[in-house]
């Protein structure tokens, strides 16, 4: 894998909560991980293994206590909040377990939100792109509806469209099918596979569901803050 194809690299990333206090807990112990462009990976592990913490770090919602996290080749640990926020908007798309649409806005506005945050009033091209994505997830007729009028599965598909509207280099999904029934979950997961192929972004899906994990070409397993499987094939470590 060449450097240009590398979307994400974690080098010895540790996370310690409440450092210097009696409650000090080290959640992640020196994580090394690479994600290449176009790679679809599942992050699995039991509850409390540090999956959410790792996802927060990768999503630049939190910063590591030690080690370095490179996003698109740029070191991020020393970035201030404003720079991390900008990088989130430019490079990362999020899909959360509880879809997290903004209920006050229409479906179309929800999809457009990352673009509106980036440059204010959306242009015709932005709206076209958002409508196109809504069509891709099969919700072209729902653009004007309030987010709350949709079913759980539909909302999750809107959330995926929203995460992809900026054409991010990295798509992060935290238990995206956690509260969906099996069939809906299959459909949603199918979208990840399709967009991964279509847009060529790196996708990291956190999941409990072994069947979904099995559908991914690569599985990273986290146990007690250590990566126990599939960590970094490029470097050859376990």
């Amino acid at each position: 894998m060449s450097e240009s194809e590398e979307v994400l690299r974690l080098a010895g990333v540790c996370k310690v909560y409440n450092p210097g206090t009696p409650q000090e807990t080290e959640v992640l112990h020196g994580i090394d991980l690479r994600l290449a462009r176009g790679e679809l990976s599942a992050l699995i592990g039991p509850s409390g293994s540090g999956k959410s913490t790792l996802l927060n770090l990768i999503g630049l919602l939190d910063s590591p206590s030690a080690g370095e996290l490179y996003l698109l080749g740029r070191p991020t640990r020393e970035l201030d909040d404003a720079a991390r926020t900008r990088l989130r908007n430019e490079a990362i798309g999020f899909v959360f377990q509880f879809h997290h649409l903004i209920p006050a806005f229409s479906v179309l506005d929800n999809v457009l939100m990352p673009l509106m945050i980036r440059h204010g009033k959306p242009g015709a091209e932005d709206i076209e792109r958002a409508r196109g994505l809504l069509a891709e997830v099969g919700l072209e007729g729902f653009a004007a509806k309030k987010a709350t009028e949709l079913s759980g599965g539909q909302q999750q598909r809107v959330a995926i469209a929203r995460a992809l509207v900026t054409h991010p280099a990295l798509l992060l999904a935290d238990e995206p099918t956690g509260n969906l029934d099996t069939r809906t979950a299959e459909n949603v997961f199918e979208l990840f596979r399709r967009f991964n192929a279509q847009f060529g972004c790196a996708v990291l899906v956190v999941t409990h569901d072994p069947r979904l994990a099995a559908g991914c070409p690569r599985t990273v397993e986290l146990v007690d803050g250590w990566i126990v499987g599939g960590a970094d094939r490029a470097s050859g470590s376990p």
């Binding site: 927060n56 926020t85 939100m113």
Partner: protein, 404 residues
């Protein structure tokens, strides 16, 4: 990410509309608060200018009087301890020395609008067996009417005082049973008497003046009061009525006379006006504070309710400043909207007061009052939103997004 506030406006309006019941309730609160502030301000301003107009409509702003007579005590020779027993001197009716020159000096002062020299003293008015004590006012009518426009308050006859004519108050006319053209005998003591025709009757609405004032020609009054060629008072009006006291002090130094401003002679009134202004100010501040706290508490609740949405926006790359501005805008919008409606409501109240009220006086809403109140309310809204908005901006997105 965007210099314009387009998205901030969109989110702020959406949040307000989405929670319309909460928005409506706080808007009613702001509206009522602003209506109270605007109405009470207009009412008190109207009341005060009315009271001042009435008070000053019947008196000079500054009166120039001869200085009080004092005892002059010879200094004791050195080495002698002198114990003086002093009785205050009686203040006889005296002329202002060289009053023509003083009048001309006052005429040249740019702050003074009108100057009216006058001779004034006590007398007895008689008609048949009825008697009344009166105040003789010998005036130059052209100059005097510029200070106190008595001619506007005539209820009968004309303002004519030359050639044995007099203008008297309504109460005096009633007491002595006088009508237009009737004779009034004036007795100023020591055998100085005159009989004048009643040419006009005025009503200033001040009982004391209506019962006592008798306006005469300057010459005739001087003769009656045995002060030939003299004036005892110079009345003036000034441009800035609230600068009258300062000006009086200056004029006293300039002329060597005693100068009494309306502010000094109406200390009680001025005190009442000042306490009224202070009370109004306090009401405004406290109503304003409660409106501000209302906005702050509603937005504080809203920030908690919107925790997860704030987290989502932050995760999608919304900077802290954007979140801050969204909530500041909501505060400002609430203030602007509430004060706009409140100002309109207060304006309607004023119209109703003027039309259906007791009609004691007219309230005028100054053109700057409502826009001013709206500007202050908008600013108050933004300031009140500051604390909740800062809190929202400081949410940790990773925590906020999982908030249930």
């Amino acid at each position: 990410m965007g210099g314009s506030l387009w998205l901030e406006w969109k989110i702020a309006l959406r949040f307000l509309l989405d929670n319309y019941l909460q928005t409506l309730l706080i808007l009613v609160g702001i509206t009522v608060g602003c209506a109270v502030i605007v109405f009470i301000t207009a009412l008190v301003t109207g009341l005060q200018s009315n009271v001042i107009a009435r008070t000053l409509g019947t008196q000079a702003h500054i009166r120039m009087l001869p200085p009080d007579e004092v005892n002059r005590v010879l200094p004791a020779p050195p080495g002698v301890l002198a114990l003086d027993l002093e009785n205050p001197r009686p203040q006889r009716l005296r002329s202002i020395g060289n009053w023509q020159a003083v009048r001309d000096v006052l005429d040249r002062q740019p702050e003074i609008l009108a100057v009216s020299p006058m001779v004034s003293g006590p007398a007895m008015g008689r008609r048949g067996v009825a008697r009344a004590s009166v105040a003789l006012l010998g005036i130059d009518p052209v100059r005097y009417l510029r200070v106190v426009p008595v001619a506007d308050e005539l209820i009968a006859g004309r303002f004519e005082i030359g050639a044995g004519h007099a203008v008297i108050g309504k109460k005096l006319a009633e007491d002595l049973g006088l009508e237009l053209g009737d004779k009034l005998r004036l007795d100023a003591g020591e055998g100085r008497e005159a009989v004048v025709d009643v040419a006009g009757i005025f009503e200033l609405g001040v009982r004391e003046l209506d019962a006592r004032h008798v306006y005469l020609d300057l010459k005739q009054a001087q003769t009656l009061l045995d002060l030939p060629g003299a004036v005892t008072v110079i009345d003036t009006t000034v441009a800035d009525i609230f600068a009258a006291e300062d000006l009086a002090v200056r004029l006293a130094r300039l002329t060597g006379l005693k100068a009494e401003s309306w502010m000094a002679t109406n200390g009680e009134l001025l005190n009442a006006l000042r306490s009224q202004t202070m009370t109004t100010q306090m009401i405004r501040v406290f109503v304003g504070l409660s409106v501000a706290f209302g906005i702050a508490s509603v937005l504080a609740v809203s920030v908690v309710q919107r925790t997860r949405e704030i987290g989502i926006l932050r995760a999608m790359g919304s900077p802290r400043g954007q979140i801050l501005r969204v909530f500041l805008l909501q505060g400002g919008l609430l203030g602007l909207l509430g004060s706009g409606v409140g100002g309109g409501l207060a304006w309607l109240l004023v119209q109703a007061f003027n039309r259906f009220g007791a009609r004691l006086f007219e309230i005028l809403v100054e053109p700057t009052l409502i826009p001013g109140a709206m500007a202050v309310a908008t600013l108050t809204g933004v300031l009140a939103a500051a604390v909740p908005a800062r809190r929202a901006a400081r949410y940790d997105p990773a925590v906020a997004i999982r908030y249930v």
